[in-house]
Amino acid sequence: MQRDRVIQTAHVVANRRLCRDHYRLTFRLPMFPPARAGQFVHLSPERRLDDSPMESHDRWVSELDQPMLRRAFSIAGLRCTNTGVEVDVIYRVVGTATRWMESLRAGDPVSLLGPMGNSFPVSDRKPVAWLVAGGVGLPPMLWLAAALQETAKRVVAFCGAQTHDLLALTLDPTAQPDGSAKTATPSAKEFTKCGADVVISTDDGSLGFRGYVGSAMAAYHQANPVAADDLVVYTCGPEPMIRFVAEYCVARRIECYVCVERNMACGTGMCQSCVVPVRDTADSTGWSYRLCCTDGPIFEARNILWETPD
């Protein structure tokens, strides 16, 4: 069965710098299949594979500074407009693909495949939701915060970065708390407009809580106890960080969903490159691999094995 998601040419609407190394890239598409928070788009430079005998010999690698494979980017926002659909992604410039993305200007075409992967489960059962984002784990949380707005949950977003100018948020200087992480405040516009409060942390203490965002969450939890049954935690970011949050939640029987990142070649389940080890009682060894691209990228914390068994 062919899916409704297809490869499309998306056009850049804006590519705006948010802070050091972080940009928000907005695309326009004539149509986009229904999508939910947690899903990603798979991007690459637009390559014309049509039949033009006059084209350069080796179009795929003619631009050596462009990536060959697609890259996954969490959808950070999605809006229907009267000319189609606008999709936001937020990226940090770290390598080949993100350097290429930094060079994109309004009107430029890119090749976009999506929406891909599963999404964050959202249920009405839990009155409190915490979103814990480290570094470029922020983008899916922005869209999740917007989605949670409709559920009447009390939402707190924990946002961590290495240092203050790597926080891709619009900060309100009047609403900055003291750094104890004991209270959440309406300190970042992106979350405040969805009715969510924010706790900010930086590894170097240059803004908000000094330390990792997982520790900020733990400090907040201690000051603001909430029954495990009332709480759901969503997290995305570097592996050590999401692992800390996941293990913290599993130890306390708090429901927790993790957005996992892997190098992906295809994003479509064809290459088996993006495996995540998970508990699996149906397998004689007690575990098996799942694909980050089609079974994920969202996994339930208690199922993930953080060390691959031998």
């Binding site: 062919q2 060959m68 190098n263 691959t308």
Partner: protein, 319 residues
Amino acid sequence: MLPAMGGAPLETTTVDLSVDLAGLRLANPVMTASGTSGFGPEHAEYMDLRKLGAFVTKAVSPEARKGNPPERIVETRGGMLNAIGLANVGLERFVAEKIPFLQSAGIPVIVNVVGHSVEDYQTVCRRLDSIDCVAGLELNVSCPNVADGLEFGTDPQRLSKFVTAIRRDVHRAKLIVKLSPNVTDITETARAAIDGGADALSVINTLYGMAINVDTWKPILANRTGGLSGPAIKPVALYMVHRVYTKVAADLGVPIIGMGGITDWRDAVEFLLAGATAVAVGTALFVDPQAPIHICEGIAAYLNRRGLQSVRELIGKLK
């Protein structure tokens, strides 16, 4: 957006794209490369598989294999390294769960086979030779034999004996040997495979490679090393197809499936001119799962422009 995906076979105007692969008729010369389009259903979500000349599966071994830990791939300049580790569900689940879909696909199916011993290969080949929709068995010989740690495909004498042993169990399906490029002289292993009874040769598998993270001083792939594929290897692959064709295969009438870095019709035409009867597309599918359709259409348009009637007029015509 890509053209609408209709259900009809490829419309290719007046030219004849069909080729004869050791007695197996392919509607067109473009197939998938093993390991790059799963077992069919994954790829069928993005492309009408009936537009392929043949579908080649991921490797199948007697027992299920989980494969290597992540990271399993990394992009390198103009290509990528992979160390998937031949992850697959194993022979019996393959037959039960994957064959029904492949049967319904209505195109020739070639199953890629791996193992750690001659018996492993025999087990898989014997079983699959009895299943009608399996048109071909492609032996992945870039795999170490547990008995001595050496790859089946790198020593000509061992390879010849190995293929002879499997040939005895394969009566109906075409027996294809997929040659490793990691050898001193690929014409020797090509000749050995044909001596052993190969009906066709796949040229080439991936080249050994690695990538190192300079921050951590560790290899990027958990397996430390991997196989290089994609546009970066195309000149090497083309040269090897040319060598195998001119030195061995043309005289013996053994067809070659050429692969390595093919991304567009022009690449495919180069492989055909170098001596390939068919071509396989691997890494390019990751960027565009419909690449085989574009390649076929491109070949047809090229033949039209050149006033040629059939794609067979290109095979081995390098001047």
